[in-house]
Protein backbone atom coordinates (compact mmCIF):
# COMPACT_ATOMS: atom_id res chain seq x y z
CA UNK A 1 0.00 0.00 0.00
CA UNK A 2 1.36 3.40 -0.94
CA UNK A 3 1.01 6.10 1.72
CA UNK A 4 0.65 9.53 0.19
CA UNK A 5 2.66 12.35 1.70
CA UNK A 6 0.95 15.38 3.17
CA UNK A 7 1.09 18.90 1.81
CA UNK A 8 -0.10 21.52 4.28
CA UNK A 9 -1.64 24.70 2.89
CA UNK A 10 -1.73 27.75 5.16
CA UNK A 11 -2.79 31.35 4.81
CA UNK A 12 -0.44 33.86 6.46
CA UNK A 13 -1.57 36.87 8.49
CA UNK A 14 0.29 39.29 10.69
CA UNK A 15 1.05 36.76 13.44
CA UNK A 16 3.74 34.30 12.38
CA UNK A 17 3.14 32.34 15.62
CA UNK A 18 -0.32 31.37 14.36
CA UNK A 19 1.14 29.81 11.21
CA UNK A 20 3.77 27.89 13.15
CA UNK A 21 1.19 26.76 15.72
CA UNK A 22 -0.97 25.28 12.96
CA UNK A 23 2.01 23.34 11.62
CA UNK A 24 2.82 22.15 15.17
CA UNK A 25 -0.75 20.93 15.75
CA UNK A 26 -0.79 19.22 12.34
CA UNK A 27 2.53 17.47 13.08
CA UNK A 28 1.22 16.20 16.43
CA UNK A 29 -1.94 14.74 14.91
CA UNK A 30 -1.04 13.66 11.38
CA UNK A 31 2.77 13.63 11.28
CA UNK A 32 5.14 16.02 9.54
CA UNK A 33 4.02 17.26 6.11
CA UNK A 34 6.50 17.06 3.24
CA UNK A 35 5.49 20.42 1.84
CA UNK A 36 4.09 23.53 3.48
CA UNK A 37 2.50 25.93 1.03
CA UNK A 38 2.09 29.44 2.41
CA UNK A 39 -0.30 32.07 1.10
CA UNK A 40 0.70 35.47 2.48
CA UNK A 41 -0.87 38.75 1.51
CA UNK A 42 1.32 41.59 0.28
CA UNK A 43 1.50 42.94 3.85
CA UNK A 44 2.42 39.60 5.45
CA UNK A 45 4.87 38.52 2.74
CA UNK A 46 7.90 39.91 4.65
CA UNK A 47 7.18 37.30 7.35
CA UNK A 48 7.50 34.35 4.99
CA UNK A 49 11.26 33.98 5.28
CA UNK A 50 11.18 33.82 9.09
CA UNK A 51 8.22 31.45 9.08
CA UNK A 52 9.98 29.16 6.60
CA UNK A 53 13.07 28.96 8.79
CA UNK A 54 10.94 28.23 11.86
CA UNK A 55 9.06 25.51 9.96
CA UNK A 56 12.34 23.92 8.94
CA UNK A 57 13.36 23.82 12.62
CA UNK A 58 10.03 22.29 13.52
CA UNK A 59 9.47 19.83 10.72
CA UNK A 60 13.01 19.02 9.67
CA UNK A 61 13.07 17.93 6.04
CA UNK A 62 10.26 20.09 4.68
CA UNK A 63 9.90 22.09 1.51
CA UNK A 64 8.34 25.52 2.04
CA UNK A 65 6.77 27.24 -0.97
CA UNK A 66 4.74 30.42 -1.10
CA UNK A 67 2.56 32.52 -3.32
CA UNK A 68 1.15 35.96 -2.57
CA UNK A 69 -2.65 36.33 -2.72
CA UNK A 70 -4.88 39.39 -2.82
CA UNK A 71 -6.28 39.47 0.70
CA UNK A 72 -9.31 41.61 -0.10
CA UNK A 73 -10.39 39.68 -3.21
CA UNK A 74 -11.91 36.39 -2.04
CA UNK A 75 -12.66 35.08 -5.54
CA UNK A 76 -9.20 35.78 -6.90
CA UNK A 77 -7.41 34.44 -3.81
CA UNK A 78 -9.58 31.34 -3.86
CA UNK A 79 -8.73 30.64 -7.53
CA UNK A 80 -4.99 30.92 -6.79
CA UNK A 81 -5.19 28.58 -3.78
CA UNK A 82 -7.46 26.19 -5.66
CA UNK A 83 -4.94 25.99 -8.49
CA UNK A 84 -2.17 25.13 -6.03
CA UNK A 85 -4.25 22.44 -4.29
CA UNK A 86 -5.00 20.81 -7.65
CA UNK A 87 -1.34 20.98 -8.63
CA UNK A 88 -0.24 19.40 -5.32
CA UNK A 89 -2.79 16.62 -5.75
CA UNK A 90 -1.45 16.10 -9.23
CA UNK A 91 2.02 15.73 -7.76
CA UNK A 92 0.66 12.92 -5.59
CA UNK A 93 0.18 14.70 -2.27
CA UNK A 94 -2.68 14.49 0.16
CA UNK A 95 -3.58 18.10 0.78
CA UNK A 96 -4.62 19.59 4.11
CA UNK A 97 -5.78 23.20 4.26
CA UNK A 98 -5.63 25.04 7.58
CA UNK A 99 -7.71 28.19 7.49
CA UNK A 100 -6.70 29.56 10.92
CA UNK A 101 -4.13 32.31 10.22
CA UNK A 102 -4.71 35.50 8.28
CA UNK A 103 -7.62 37.80 7.78
CA UNK A 104 -11.15 36.36 7.57
CA UNK A 105 -11.26 37.06 3.82
CA UNK A 106 -8.16 34.90 3.33
CA UNK A 107 -9.58 32.11 5.48
CA UNK A 108 -12.83 32.18 3.50
CA UNK A 109 -10.87 32.05 0.26
CA UNK A 110 -8.83 29.10 1.53
CA UNK A 111 -11.97 27.27 2.73
CA UNK A 112 -13.72 27.83 -0.60
CA UNK A 113 -10.67 26.60 -2.50
CA UNK A 114 -10.35 23.53 -0.25
CA UNK A 115 -13.98 22.56 -0.78
CA UNK A 116 -13.99 23.22 -4.53
CA UNK A 117 -10.75 21.40 -5.25
CA UNK A 118 -11.40 18.45 -2.93
CA UNK A 119 -8.68 18.92 -0.31
CA UNK A 120 -8.17 15.90 1.93
CA UNK A 121 -8.59 17.85 5.14
CA UNK A 122 -9.87 21.27 6.10
CA UNK A 123 -8.58 22.32 9.50
CA UNK A 124 -9.03 25.07 12.05
CA UNK A 125 -6.93 25.52 15.19
CA UNK A 126 -9.41 26.60 17.82
CA UNK A 127 -7.74 28.71 20.54
CA UNK A 128 -9.95 28.84 23.59
CA UNK A 129 -8.08 31.69 25.21
CA UNK A 130 -7.15 34.89 23.35
CA UNK A 131 -4.11 35.38 25.58
CA UNK A 132 -2.35 32.75 23.50
CA UNK A 133 -2.82 34.38 20.09
CA UNK A 134 0.86 35.28 19.87
CA UNK A 135 2.16 32.17 21.58
CA UNK A 136 3.43 29.06 19.82
CA UNK A 137 1.51 25.79 20.20
CA UNK A 138 3.70 23.89 22.73
CA UNK A 139 3.53 26.83 25.13
CA UNK A 140 -0.27 26.70 25.18
CA UNK A 141 -2.00 24.35 27.68
CA UNK A 142 -3.09 21.43 25.52
CA UNK A 143 -6.82 21.75 26.22
CA UNK A 144 -6.79 25.40 25.22
CA UNK A 145 -5.81 24.65 21.62
CA UNK A 146 -7.88 22.18 19.66
CA UNK A 147 -7.29 21.20 16.06
CA UNK A 148 -10.76 20.92 14.54
CA UNK A 149 -11.39 18.99 11.33
CA UNK A 150 -13.98 21.03 9.48
CA UNK A 151 -14.23 18.65 6.57
CA UNK A 152 -12.42 17.50 3.47
CA UNK A 153 -12.53 14.55 1.12
CA UNK A 154 -10.20 12.45 3.21
CA UNK A 155 -11.31 13.79 6.56
CA UNK A 156 -14.55 13.79 8.46
CA UNK A 157 -17.64 15.01 6.72
CA UNK A 158 -18.80 16.58 9.97
CA UNK A 159 -16.72 18.90 12.13
CA UNK A 160 -14.80 17.05 14.79
CA UNK A 161 -12.26 17.95 17.42
Amino acid sequence: MITLKWALVLTVGVRPEAVVSCAYAFRDRFGSPSIVYLFPSRSSKPLVERIARALEELLGDVEVRHEVVEEADIGKASRVISGVIKRLKGEGFRVAVDITPGRKTMSIAAYKAAVESGAGLILYLHLKCREYESVIYPLIPKHYAQLVVLGGAGGASKAQG
Binding site: P16, E17, V20, R50, I51, R53, A54, E56, E57, L58, C129, E131, I136, P138, L139, I140, P141, K142, H143, Y144
Partner: protein, 341 residues
Amino acid sequence: MPVKLRVEELTVLANTIADQVLEFSLPQYRAELVRISYVDGRVLSLTADDELGALESILKSMGCLRPPVSRHLFWDALTSAGVLQPPNMDELLNLMGRATRFDPSDPRQKVLAVDTNVLYNCTLTLAAGMTRSRPPITVSGCILYEIAVKVQKETDREEAKWTRQLAGIRGSRKLGDELAYTWCLERRRGLAALREYERVKLTYPFISTPRRKCRGDAEVARDYSRLMARGVNTVLVTHDRQMYSTARAHDLPVILLKPPKRKLDGIPLTCIPEVIYHLSVNFGLVRVSGEKGWAIVRSAWRGASDEEAVKGILLVESSPEVEGEVLSEVEVARSVLRELA
Protein backbone atom coordinates in the same frame (compact mmCIF):
# COMPACT_ATOMS: atom_id res chain seq x y z
CA MET B 1 19.19 14.41 33.41
CA PRO B 2 17.82 17.64 34.90
CA VAL B 3 17.14 20.44 32.44
CA LYS B 4 16.93 24.19 33.00
CA LEU B 5 13.62 25.69 31.91
CA ARG B 6 12.23 29.21 31.79
CA VAL B 7 8.88 29.72 33.53
CA GLU B 8 6.84 29.88 30.30
CA GLU B 9 8.44 26.61 29.15
CA LEU B 10 6.79 24.84 32.08
CA THR B 11 3.68 24.56 29.90
CA VAL B 12 5.62 22.11 27.72
CA LEU B 13 6.29 20.12 30.88
CA ALA B 14 2.65 20.19 32.03
CA ASN B 15 1.43 19.24 28.53
CA THR B 16 3.81 16.29 28.48
CA ILE B 17 3.09 14.84 31.91
CA ALA B 18 -0.63 15.53 32.26
CA ASP B 19 -3.69 14.69 30.27
CA GLN B 20 -6.73 15.21 32.49
CA VAL B 21 -5.30 15.75 35.98
CA LEU B 22 -2.38 17.73 37.39
CA GLU B 23 -1.17 17.34 40.96
CA PHE B 24 1.15 19.49 43.07
CA SER B 25 2.98 18.06 46.05
CA LEU B 26 6.06 18.50 48.24
CA PRO B 27 7.99 15.22 48.09
CA GLN B 28 10.55 16.50 50.61
CA TYR B 29 7.80 16.40 53.29
CA ARG B 30 5.52 13.85 51.59
CA ALA B 31 2.73 16.44 51.48
CA GLU B 32 0.02 16.64 48.83
CA LEU B 33 -1.07 20.20 48.08
CA VAL B 34 -3.71 20.35 45.38
CA ARG B 35 -5.12 18.28 42.49
CA ILE B 36 -6.71 20.09 39.57
CA SER B 37 -8.36 19.23 36.29
CA TYR B 38 -5.92 19.94 33.45
CA VAL B 39 -8.91 20.41 31.16
CA ASP B 40 -10.41 23.46 32.86
CA GLY B 41 -8.34 24.09 36.00
CA ARG B 42 -11.11 23.07 38.45
CA VAL B 43 -9.84 22.04 41.89
CA LEU B 44 -10.46 18.31 42.41
CA SER B 45 -9.00 18.15 45.90
CA LEU B 46 -7.27 20.66 48.14
CA THR B 47 -5.21 19.24 50.99
CA ALA B 48 -2.58 21.97 51.33
CA ASP B 49 -4.10 23.58 54.42
CA ASP B 50 -4.34 20.30 56.35
CA GLU B 51 -0.98 18.95 55.26
CA LEU B 52 0.98 22.16 55.78
CA GLY B 53 -0.84 22.86 59.05
CA ALA B 54 0.24 19.43 60.31
CA LEU B 55 3.85 20.11 59.28
CA GLU B 56 3.78 23.49 61.06
CA SER B 57 2.47 21.79 64.21
CA ILE B 58 5.21 19.15 64.10
CA LEU B 59 7.87 21.85 63.80
CA LYS B 60 6.39 23.94 66.61
CA SER B 61 6.15 20.91 68.89
CA MET B 62 9.86 20.34 68.27
CA GLY B 63 10.62 23.89 69.38
CA CYS B 64 10.89 25.61 66.00
CA LEU B 65 9.83 29.24 66.38
CA ARG B 66 9.95 30.23 62.72
CA PRO B 67 8.75 27.23 60.68
CA PRO B 68 10.26 27.16 57.18
CA VAL B 69 7.07 25.43 55.99
CA SER B 70 3.64 26.98 56.44
CA ARG B 71 0.18 27.34 54.96
CA HIS B 72 0.91 31.03 54.30
CA LEU B 73 3.62 30.08 51.84
CA PHE B 74 1.12 28.08 49.81
CA TRP B 75 -1.45 30.91 49.68
CA ASP B 76 1.30 33.47 49.04
CA ALA B 77 2.48 31.40 46.07
CA LEU B 78 -1.05 31.41 44.63
CA THR B 79 -1.28 35.18 45.13
CA SER B 80 2.08 35.84 43.47
CA ALA B 81 1.07 33.54 40.61
CA GLY B 82 -2.02 35.68 39.98
CA VAL B 83 -4.51 32.96 40.97
CA LEU B 84 -5.82 34.93 43.96
CA GLN B 85 -6.48 38.65 43.75
CA PRO B 86 -6.99 41.37 46.33
CA PRO B 87 -10.78 41.89 46.63
CA ASN B 88 -10.31 45.60 45.89
CA MET B 89 -8.11 45.09 42.81
CA ASP B 90 -10.57 47.33 40.89
CA GLU B 91 -9.36 50.30 42.92
CA LEU B 92 -5.84 49.77 41.62
CA LEU B 93 -7.05 49.24 38.03
CA ASN B 94 -9.12 52.45 38.19
CA LEU B 95 -6.14 54.35 39.54
CA MET B 96 -3.97 52.94 36.75
CA GLY B 97 -6.53 54.15 34.20
CA ARG B 98 -6.67 57.62 35.75
CA ALA B 99 -2.89 57.85 35.98
CA THR B 100 -2.56 57.10 32.27
CA ARG B 101 -5.14 59.65 31.07
CA PHE B 102 -4.41 63.36 30.92
CA ASP B 103 -6.60 65.25 33.36
CA PRO B 104 -6.79 68.99 32.57
CA SER B 105 -7.95 69.72 36.14
CA ASP B 106 -4.72 68.18 37.50
CA PRO B 107 -2.06 68.23 34.80
CA ARG B 108 0.72 67.02 37.11
CA GLN B 109 2.34 63.74 36.09
CA LYS B 110 0.77 60.87 38.03
CA VAL B 111 3.00 58.07 39.24
CA LEU B 112 2.27 54.83 41.09
CA ALA B 113 4.76 54.23 43.86
CA VAL B 114 5.08 50.63 45.02
CA ASP B 115 5.80 49.03 48.35
CA THR B 116 8.07 45.98 48.70
CA ASN B 117 5.11 43.60 49.04
CA VAL B 118 3.79 44.73 45.65
CA LEU B 119 6.94 43.24 44.10
CA TYR B 120 6.73 40.09 46.25
CA ASN B 121 3.07 39.57 45.30
CA CYS B 122 3.70 40.36 41.61
CA THR B 123 0.68 42.69 41.74
CA LEU B 124 1.76 44.81 38.77
CA THR B 125 2.21 41.79 36.52
CA LEU B 126 -1.27 40.66 37.53
CA ALA B 127 -2.62 44.15 36.80
CA ALA B 128 -0.89 44.26 33.42
CA GLY B 129 -2.97 41.23 32.40
CA MET B 130 -6.20 42.96 33.47
CA THR B 131 -5.84 46.42 31.95
CA ARG B 132 -4.12 48.07 29.03
CA SER B 133 -3.23 51.11 31.15
CA ARG B 134 0.49 51.45 31.69
CA PRO B 135 1.03 54.33 34.12
CA PRO B 136 4.53 55.32 35.20
CA ILE B 137 5.77 53.24 38.14
CA THR B 138 8.35 54.24 40.68
CA VAL B 139 10.25 51.94 43.01
CA SER B 140 12.05 53.47 45.98
CA GLY B 141 15.79 52.89 46.24
CA CYS B 142 15.09 51.91 49.88
CA ILE B 143 12.97 48.97 48.70
CA LEU B 144 15.67 47.77 46.34
CA TYR B 145 18.23 48.11 49.13
CA GLU B 146 15.98 46.09 51.46
CA ILE B 147 15.63 43.29 48.90
CA ALA B 148 19.36 43.38 48.13
CA VAL B 149 20.12 42.82 51.83
CA LYS B 150 17.80 39.80 51.94
CA VAL B 151 19.29 38.35 48.80
CA GLN B 152 22.83 38.59 50.15
CA LYS B 153 22.12 36.03 52.84
CA GLU B 154 22.73 32.68 51.11
CA THR B 155 21.80 30.20 53.83
CA ASP B 156 20.03 30.18 57.17
CA ARG B 157 21.36 27.61 59.64
CA GLU B 158 18.18 27.44 61.71
CA GLU B 159 15.99 27.02 58.64
CA ALA B 160 18.33 24.38 57.23
CA LYS B 161 18.27 22.46 60.53
CA TRP B 162 14.46 22.32 60.71
CA THR B 163 14.07 21.58 57.02
CA ARG B 164 16.42 18.63 57.34
CA GLN B 165 14.73 17.35 60.49
CA LEU B 166 11.22 17.63 59.13
CA ALA B 167 12.16 15.95 55.84
CA GLY B 168 13.87 13.18 57.82
CA ILE B 169 10.75 12.53 59.87
CA ARG B 170 8.08 12.96 57.23
CA GLY B 171 9.41 12.70 53.72
CA SER B 172 12.74 12.36 52.01
CA ARG B 173 15.98 12.76 53.96
CA LYS B 174 17.85 13.08 50.65
CA LEU B 175 15.71 15.99 49.46
CA GLY B 176 15.83 17.57 52.92
CA ASP B 177 19.63 17.49 52.90
CA GLU B 178 19.65 18.92 49.42
CA LEU B 179 17.37 21.82 50.44
CA ALA B 180 19.43 22.49 53.55
CA TYR B 181 22.51 23.15 51.40
CA THR B 182 20.84 25.45 48.89
CA TRP B 183 19.57 29.03 49.19
CA CYS B 184 17.33 29.92 52.10
CA LEU B 185 13.72 31.03 51.74
CA GLU B 186 14.45 34.75 52.17
CA ARG B 187 17.00 34.69 49.36
CA ARG B 188 14.78 32.68 47.03
CA ARG B 189 11.85 35.05 47.62
CA GLY B 190 14.06 38.11 47.30
CA LEU B 191 15.30 36.90 43.92
CA ALA B 192 11.71 36.25 42.85
CA ALA B 193 10.90 39.86 43.81
CA LEU B 194 13.83 41.04 41.68
CA ARG B 195 12.46 38.98 38.80
CA GLU B 196 9.17 40.87 39.21
CA TYR B 197 11.10 44.16 39.36
CA GLU B 198 12.65 43.32 35.96
CA ARG B 199 9.22 42.46 34.53
CA VAL B 200 7.78 45.76 35.82
CA LYS B 201 10.63 47.68 34.17
CA LEU B 202 9.85 45.98 30.86
CA THR B 203 6.10 46.47 31.09
CA TYR B 204 5.68 49.99 32.48
CA PRO B 205 7.33 53.39 32.05
CA PHE B 206 9.68 53.35 34.97
CA ILE B 207 11.33 55.75 37.40
CA SER B 208 13.50 54.76 40.33
CA THR B 209 14.62 56.93 43.22
CA PRO B 210 18.35 56.88 44.05
CA ARG B 211 19.47 53.64 45.69
CA ARG B 212 20.70 54.30 49.22
CA LYS B 213 21.19 52.56 52.51
CA CYS B 214 17.84 52.87 54.22
CA ARG B 215 15.21 50.56 55.65
CA GLY B 216 11.72 50.54 57.00
CA ASP B 217 8.31 51.92 56.09
CA ALA B 218 9.05 55.47 57.22
CA GLU B 219 12.11 55.73 54.96
CA VAL B 220 10.16 54.44 51.98
CA ALA B 221 7.30 56.86 52.67
CA ARG B 222 9.79 59.75 53.05
CA ASP B 223 11.40 58.78 49.75
CA TYR B 224 8.08 58.96 47.92
CA SER B 225 7.12 62.17 49.77
CA ARG B 226 10.22 63.78 48.27
CA LEU B 227 8.86 62.96 44.82
CA MET B 228 5.55 64.59 45.81
CA ALA B 229 7.42 67.68 46.97
CA ARG B 230 8.99 67.89 43.50
CA GLY B 231 5.49 68.16 41.99
CA VAL B 232 4.98 64.52 41.00
CA ASN B 233 1.47 63.30 41.82
CA THR B 234 2.48 60.13 43.66
CA VAL B 235 0.12 57.42 44.96
CA LEU B 236 1.56 54.61 47.03
CA VAL B 237 0.29 51.07 46.51
CA THR B 238 0.73 48.60 49.35
CA HIS B 239 -0.63 45.34 50.74
CA ASP B 240 0.52 46.24 54.25
CA ARG B 241 -1.75 47.93 56.80
CA GLN B 242 1.20 49.34 58.73
CA MET B 243 2.69 50.90 55.62
CA TYR B 244 -0.74 52.34 54.84
CA SER B 245 -0.75 54.16 58.20
CA THR B 246 2.83 55.33 57.77
CA ALA B 247 2.05 56.74 54.33
CA ARG B 248 -1.02 58.54 55.67
CA ALA B 249 1.14 60.05 58.41
CA HIS B 250 3.43 61.41 55.66
CA ASP B 251 0.41 62.89 53.77
CA LEU B 252 1.09 60.47 50.95
CA PRO B 253 -1.99 59.33 48.99
CA VAL B 254 -2.17 55.56 49.34
CA ILE B 255 -4.16 52.52 48.21
CA LEU B 256 -4.28 49.54 50.56
CA LEU B 257 -4.83 46.29 48.69
CA LYS B 258 -6.72 43.90 50.96
CA PRO B 259 -5.54 40.32 51.36
CA PRO B 260 -7.24 37.87 49.01
CA LYS B 261 -9.70 35.33 50.41
CA ARG B 262 -8.06 31.96 50.99
CA LYS B 263 -10.53 30.08 48.87
CA LEU B 264 -9.64 28.11 45.81
CA ASP B 265 -12.16 26.78 43.30
CA GLY B 266 -9.80 26.55 40.39
CA ILE B 267 -6.42 27.47 38.99
CA PRO B 268 -6.66 29.10 35.54
CA LEU B 269 -4.49 27.04 33.22
CA THR B 270 -2.85 30.28 32.10
CA CYS B 271 -1.42 30.58 35.63
CA ILE B 272 0.05 27.05 35.84
CA PRO B 273 3.66 28.00 34.98
CA GLU B 274 3.64 30.80 37.56
CA VAL B 275 2.06 28.52 40.18
CA ILE B 276 4.81 25.95 39.67
CA TYR B 277 7.42 28.71 39.81
CA HIS B 278 6.16 30.33 43.02
CA LEU B 279 5.59 27.01 44.81
CA SER B 280 9.16 26.04 43.96
CA VAL B 281 10.36 29.42 45.27
CA ASN B 282 8.39 29.20 48.51
CA PHE B 283 9.17 25.55 49.27
CA GLY B 284 12.52 25.11 47.53
CA LEU B 285 11.13 22.44 45.26
CA VAL B 286 7.75 21.15 44.15
CA ARG B 287 6.65 17.98 42.42
CA VAL B 288 4.16 18.17 39.57
CA SER B 289 2.57 14.97 38.35
CA GLY B 290 0.06 13.78 35.82
CA GLU B 291 -1.10 10.50 34.27
CA LYS B 292 1.98 10.22 32.05
CA GLY B 293 4.77 11.16 34.43
CA TRP B 294 6.09 13.58 37.01
CA ALA B 295 8.72 16.25 37.47
CA ILE B 296 10.51 17.83 40.40
CA VAL B 297 10.99 21.55 39.86
CA ARG B 298 13.72 23.34 41.85
CA SER B 299 14.12 27.10 42.27
CA ALA B 300 17.58 26.70 43.86
CA TRP B 301 20.32 24.17 43.34
CA ARG B 302 24.06 23.95 43.81
CA GLY B 303 25.73 26.16 41.24
CA ALA B 304 22.64 28.22 40.44
CA SER B 305 23.42 31.86 39.71
CA ASP B 306 21.60 35.04 40.71
CA GLU B 307 21.19 35.87 37.04
CA GLU B 308 19.38 32.59 36.42
CA ALA B 309 17.16 33.20 39.44
CA VAL B 310 16.23 36.72 38.33
CA LYS B 311 15.38 35.36 34.88
CA GLY B 312 13.13 32.76 36.56
CA ILE B 313 15.13 29.77 35.39
CA LEU B 314 14.27 26.53 37.17
CA LEU B 315 15.91 23.14 37.33
CA VAL B 316 13.54 20.39 36.24
CA GLU B 317 14.08 16.68 36.77
CA SER B 318 11.44 14.63 34.95
CA SER B 319 10.50 10.99 35.29
CA PRO B 320 12.27 8.70 32.78
CA GLU B 321 9.14 8.05 30.68
CA VAL B 322 8.73 11.76 29.79
CA GLU B 323 12.29 13.07 30.15
CA GLY B 324 13.24 12.68 26.47
CA GLU B 325 9.99 14.16 25.20
CA VAL B 326 10.23 17.22 27.47
CA LEU B 327 13.79 17.90 26.41
CA SER B 328 13.20 17.49 22.68
CA GLU B 329 9.98 19.56 22.71
CA VAL B 330 11.69 22.37 24.61
CA GLU B 331 14.68 22.35 22.27
CA VAL B 332 12.47 22.49 19.17
CA ALA B 333 10.33 25.27 20.69
CA ARG B 334 13.45 27.29 21.48
CA SER B 335 14.82 26.93 17.92
CA VAL B 336 11.44 27.85 16.44
CA LEU B 337 11.20 30.95 18.65
CA ARG B 338 14.78 31.91 17.75
CA GLU B 339 13.87 31.86 14.06
CA LEU B 340 10.65 33.81 14.61
CA ALA B 341 12.34 36.50 16.72
